[in-house]
Amino acid sequence: MKYIDEYRDGDIAAKIVERIRRVQRKPWVIMEICGGQTHSIVKNGIDHLLPKDIELVHGPGCPVCVTPLEMIDKAHAIARRPEVIFCSFGDMLRVPGSNGDLFSIKSQGGDVRVVYSPIDCLRIAKTNPDKQVVFFAIGFETTAPANAMLAWQARQMGIRNISLLVSHVLVPPAIESILSAPGNRVQGFLGPGHVCTVVGYSEYEPLAEKFRVPIVVCGFEPLDILEGVLMIVEQLEQGRHEVENQYSRVLARGGNRPAQELIAKVFTVSDRKWRGVGTIPSSGLRLRDDFCDVDAEQRFDVEAIDTAEPEVCIAGQILQGMKKPHDCPAFGTECTPQHPLGATMVSAEGACAAYYAYGRHLKDTDLVNIGGKG
């Protein structure tokens, strides 16, 4: 398939790996920010291709994973209401709250629907004028423009039976939080390609400067990730700490201006709680005050729901790159995608769920040895 196959070529991959081997002298710890990158790394076995001394740790960029438990509980409280059609991105449906998931609510008669675009909610609202259509607006900067567009268009079209349950988070404050943490091990970042498609990467430049870490904004295909790793290793070995753009076929430094303007019209920066991590100041988006009429938290009076997270899993440390899924005694035993204990096991893009789905509950070495025979 054009524009995909070119970035999955095994021969080119082997050549990039060889270049990484030639450049690399010292051991380095590199974090990929995005859940999509984590998924691609584990799905394609990219970490197994890299030299032993280059460790990839998995970052906080899985939007489903970091959505706090109390927000999931609020979503479930709203979805249970008989007058509500609750619309969500697909992978939120299996995320467990304090009491079951959206699939269970659907099986008990709740009207829960998967949408591929938030804009689909407009059509659902128009064809169901006697129902309240609620969209679970989660995600990083990537999904913010489409979510903002829903609120904007609902207003423009005068559709009043739409509201948004907003739990938006932002990447740069999370990077700052990781780098400021006392136990930080991360020495370079694969930056979030799709987030930067929207907001650009100029706001990463002060971070690279302040913490003296290289950040390479990177795509999601195997060759993107390998090239991104090569660019970081080159910077680290040369003592540089710049923001570079590996994903130039898709994004530019300034990002997408109209999308940024739309986000600014509908949302404003706020403090946000991250599942497994806690509250990070100015790390999210909320609806602006003049859009409070589409705020589902207010419309359905669920603001008071405040769920404490169980302190059983090490998701917080995994999301900050301090530990890997294997380091958790519950991984693959007590904690599986069917019975997730924490954030990183709940979505396909979470590090624990990705490790589990692609068989990493075996020891890595077993997998490499077995695979190597073929």
Partner: protein, 359 residues
């Protein structure tokens, strides 16, 4: 499960401890939730040696005649789709479940659950399709039943077909017969049916017209068995399956599990249409788990694999057949895949439905 045994020292629990107090959609996905449902609710109560094999059909010997016997229910929205409709699915699905057991399909029964308000013309179209599909497959529909439920209590039409066929050759086809060294054959592109249905249901529009692969496989399978017989190794045909819901990944995991063997697939050998790959890329789905309705997976002894493959490729339904991997000794019960970029990953069974990803 261990805890269950502890709680029920006096034998099988009449109400099995179940993760879900209610049935969820994932119980119908063909993944781990489906397996749990079958195991805890049904197998525990109906256990017998024939059922325990959990093949697509039961193989019965009556007065010295070997028969294949199977049943399947069909629920699909929309009921008409490019490449077929619920009627063609209901005939071909049951024909295929018989054929993969090495049987010549003979007779079918069909039961219809109709929803009040279903236009009679639509039911007529479905029946026409069934008649045509039955003629094409050389089977006769010889008995049936009809029920009507209140509007809103069904979804237009549900069809259950039950089939019987005769196994004329001394085959031994079963999911527990894969052996290290065997080759894994796939008859063509994967995911066509599932993505066609998804695109119709969700109103996704693709540039080119993708159609369901719905087809009866008995003739293709007969050619494969001919080739094996001509090679003097009919028993080298170990397992055949049609990878419907849960896709190729789920079927191969079942075989690996039942046979106590490993498998190593080569991603580059697995044919996927560009339209299907495109849709899967966009939605975050993996075609290995997407349903097919006219494809075949076969595990075949290495010695006869090339001849069987050639026989497949000479049949229109197997023109794109490939050897996609090998059966290995280790890791027992697991399916591994060499990825296109040269890494290795495990291809596991999903818990429930594949969910489209957020971004």
């Amino acid at each position: 499960m261990k805890t269950e045994e502890k709680l029920n020292p006096f034998g099988a629990c009449p109400l099995p401890i179940f993760d879900h107090p209610q049935i969820v959609l994932g119980h119908g996905s063909g993944g781990k939730l489906s397996a749990e449902l079958i195991d805890k609710v049904f197998l525990s109560r109906f256990r017998n040696p024939l059922l325990e094999k959990l093949d697509d059909q039961a193989t019965l010997t009556i007065n010295g005649t070997r028969l294949a016997f199977t049943t399947d229910s069909f629920v699909v929205t929309p009921i008409f789709f490019p490449g077929g409709d619920i009627g063609t699915l209901a005939i071909n699905g049951t024909v295929n479940d018989l054929a993969v057991g090495g049987a010549t399909p003979l007779y079918l029964a069909a039961a219809f659950i109709l929803e009040e308000g279903l236009p009679a013309t639509e039911l007529g179209r479905v029946a026409d399709s069934m008649a045509q599909a039955a003629r094409d497959a050389g089977v006769q529909l010889v008995t049936g039943d009809t029920k009507v439920v209140n509007r809103g209590k069904g979804d237009k039409v549900f069809i259950t077909t039950t089939g019987i066929g005769v196994i004329e050759r001394p085959t031994q086809l079963s999911a527990d017969r894969a052996r290290p060294g065997d080759k894994i054959l796939l008859s063509g592109t994967i995911g066509d049916h599932g993505i066609t249905i998804l695109s119709q249901r969700e109103g996704l529009e693709f540039e080119s017209a993708l159609a369901s692969d719905c087809a009866a496989l008995h003739a293709l399978i007969a050619r494969m068995l001919d080739a094996a017989e001509e090679s003097g190794d009919l028993l080298g045909m170990r397992v055949m399956r049609d990878p419907t819901r849960g896709g190729v990944a789920t079927v191969l995991n079942e075989i690996a599990d039942r046979s106590g063997v490993g498998m190593l697939l080569r991603e580059s050998e697995i044919p996927v249409r560009d339209e299907v790959r495109g849709a899967c890329e966009m939605l975050g789905l993996d075609p290995l788990y997407v349903a097919n309705e006219g494809k075949l997976v076969a595990v075949v002894a290495a010695e006869i694999a090339d001849r069987v493959l050639e026989a497949m490729q000479r049949h229109p339904l197997g023109a794109e057949a490939r050897i996609i991997g090998e059966v290995t000794e280790q890791p027992a019960g697991m399916v591994l895949m060499k990825t296109g970029v040269g890494g290795t990953r495990v291809v596991d069974v999903l818990f429930g439905e594949q969910l489209p990803r957020i971004c």
